[in-house]
Symmetry: C2
Subunit: 113 residues, 2 copies
DNA sequence: CAATATACATCGCCTGTCAATGTATATCGC
DNA sequence: GCGATATACATTGACAGGCGATGTATATTG
């Protein structure tokens, strides 16, 4: 069966980038959003989520800062940099190409778009 | 950038299954077909291709036999088993779901179908 | 006051992809 | 005739990303 973990691989970065493109956010909420959007079918596991944040920040496409909540658990917010936004747009464009290629490879004759 | 190797990951099995669904075939030709279909954008590297054949055969979804060519390099042909065909159909169905989910996660509001 | 939700973090394993390397046969141009 | 290139299969070891397990801490709720 098509495996969710292997599907995720390669898309995790862009999924997070897409969430941040809507505005600054933090791990827990992003994780919940992904579950909601996919009706629970796909999930960014915590280990994956936080290692990905590190990687993206190191790459300079996101920046982080601690939230100023005075109540509840602390939150580390992330912000998309200009480079990050550029990367996001590139990845979206790439996806449209790869998506069509995979459909073609899977023998789906172009129920186009 | 969306990375071709990580895109492939998770789809390689089904790509091969799809090729064999059209009839028995062998590594070299399958590899060429994939390049052709994707205009060279995606490529099943030999190491990947042959290790995947092993994995799929072990899983009982394909079977192999040596070709009877009396000329040229020997060819190992692969044949889709009944289980293989079933898996192929399942993966195609899964793909349609995952494809739409990823599009949604990437913030592509449904230019449907 | 135990259970659950919120929230972040790290370690080490697993698995699939691939570069590098090796083998062997056939063909094509010069 | 011979070097280059195409056809064809195979293995080894490295690498990287996803994740299970585990740990920390605060807030809410029954």
């Amino acid at each position: 069966m098509l495996n969710a973990s292997d599907i995720l691989r390669g898309y995790t970065d862009t999924i997070i980038l897409a969430q941040l493109a809507k505005g600054d956010s933090y791990g827990y909420v992003i994780s919940k959003n992904v579950q909601e959007i996919t009706c629970g079918a796909l999930q960014l596991k915590e280990a994956t989520l936080y290692t990905t944040f590190r990687r993206l920040e190191e790459a300079g496409v996101i920046e982080s800062y601690w939230g100023s909540e005075s109540v509840g658990a602390r939150r580390r917010y992330y912000h998309l940099t200009d480079d990050g936004r550029k990367l996001y747009e590139e990845n979206r464009a790439d996806w449209e190409k790869y998506r069509d290629m995979i459909s073609a490879l899977f023998g789906m004759e172009d129920e186009k778009r």
